[in-house]
């Protein structure tokens, strides 16, 4: 029996390079749809939370639409979820970028600004190293960020990069993968990661 090609549901956050994100999936030959309906986001087989811009603005928008709770329930039930850039950051407890704004609290830790002696924003290709196995292979990824998670949180596997010291390039656990870099802009390496992540999941939650 042939299995239907998976469809990727992309969350409309209002602050993301949405066209670029959708074009990445299209180049892989996968269908996409966009939504900002919380019920949809909670239940869809594959959900991507893209994001650029500020932590506070992203959280405000998620709360206003009820997507915050939908995402929490989705990740807690281990449905396949991919978070990109600020999408990774809002999974955490908080960020120095927007003091006093609570994140989704799914990943322990506070997002911090890069140290002053390096270029900020970090713009460009940086080497990602992953000694842990899992979906990420060593290679160059494209980053565009001023803030990052400095340490791998307890309970998550992590790949790291270095910009004024080591920082978290990606973390994953079960069916959740969160990338500080932009796989859709990271050439063949990035598309390979997206492809492996989708093919390695069942889309139904629980163990793949």
């Amino acid at each position: 029996m042939t299995k239907a090609s998976p469809e990727i549901t992309v969350v409309v956050t209002g602050v993301a390079n949405l066209a670029s994100v959708l074009a990445g999936w299209k180049r892989l030959g996968l269908a996409t749809r966009v939504t900002e309906d919380p019920e949809d986001v909670e239940r869809a087989d594959f959900v991507e939370l893209p994001g650029v811009g500020a932590f506070g603005a992203a959280m405000d928008r998620l709360r206003a639409t009820g997507l915050d709770q939908a995402l929490v329930r989705r990740v807690q039930s281990d449905r396949p979820t991919l978070a990109i850039c600020v999408g990774l950051q809002v999974l955490c407890d908080a960020s120095e970028e927007s003091p006093g704004v609570a994140g989704l609290g799914l990943v322990p830790g506070t997002v911090q600004r890069f140290p002053d002696h390096v270029r900020i924003p970090q713009f460009g290709w940086n080497q990602v190293q992953n000694p842990a196995g899992g979906p990420i292979v060593d290679g160059y990824a494209y980053f565009a960020n001023s803030y990052r998670l400095p340490l791998a949180p307890a309970g998550f596997a992590a790949a790291t990069s270095d910009h004024g010291g080591a920082f978290v390039a990606a973390i994953w656990r079960g069916n959740m993968l969160a990338c500080q870099f932009h796989p859709e802009l990271s050439g063949a390496w990035g598309l390979g990661l997206l492809d492996r992540w989708v093919r390695g999941r069942t889309g139904k939650g629980g163990s793949p």
């Binding site: 074009a23 002053d116 802009l185």
Partner: protein
Amino acid sequence: MITARILPCLDVKDGRVVKGIKFQGLRDAGDPAERAAAYEAQGADELVILDVSATTEGRKTAAETVRRVRDVLSIPLTVGGGVRSVEDAGRLLDAGADKVAVNTAAVRDPSLISAIAQRFGRQCAILALDAAARPEGGWEVVVSSGRERTGLDAIAWAREAVSRGAGEIVLTSWDRDGTRQGYDLPLLTAASAAVPVPIVASGGADSAQHLLEGLRAGADAVLAASIFHYGETTVGDVKAFLAANGIEVRR
């Protein structure tokens, strides 16, 4: 460690690449999408499209060009030329650009930078700064494709733009552009020291040696058009040369 970036730039007019005709291996060297894919295959780190259309009708084709390029391109895409409002920026981002560069309109109204940064994030807000040397020293901002000197100090303008949310500066030496004599290195060094954001060197490069000098002078990335367009050298060749000279590049 973050690597030095090589950014080929396509000048596009009415949907066609207008500089460079002898690009090897393409059926149609004037097609932006074909050219973009070829540069990505060579190892380009990002692509820049500068819309040089002179008419409103020509500008409308820019979004369509961006869409066609985005369909085939898996690296970041910056688009500039004629961006006058947040709505202009939004149209290009909706078409698939990742960053939008503002130039003359931002000099006339600096709040344009703040507005784009607030709406789309500072990683989308790129300042294209054209500078010309002053006889008494330093540099001033020039606009309208070099036709108008503003009297505005280029380094002070770079600082203001960054304080308003510009996430990167594409810095073009108007004195060197088209001369094939290499970048204005003191300008790159001064701008690089003045602001925390990345500096992209532009204007005057004619060889891999020029790109190396620009990076050593303080640029984080180098933009070049003609040295790649005529098929004399490839991005891969340039990266091999830079790596042999101790510059870390993605290969």
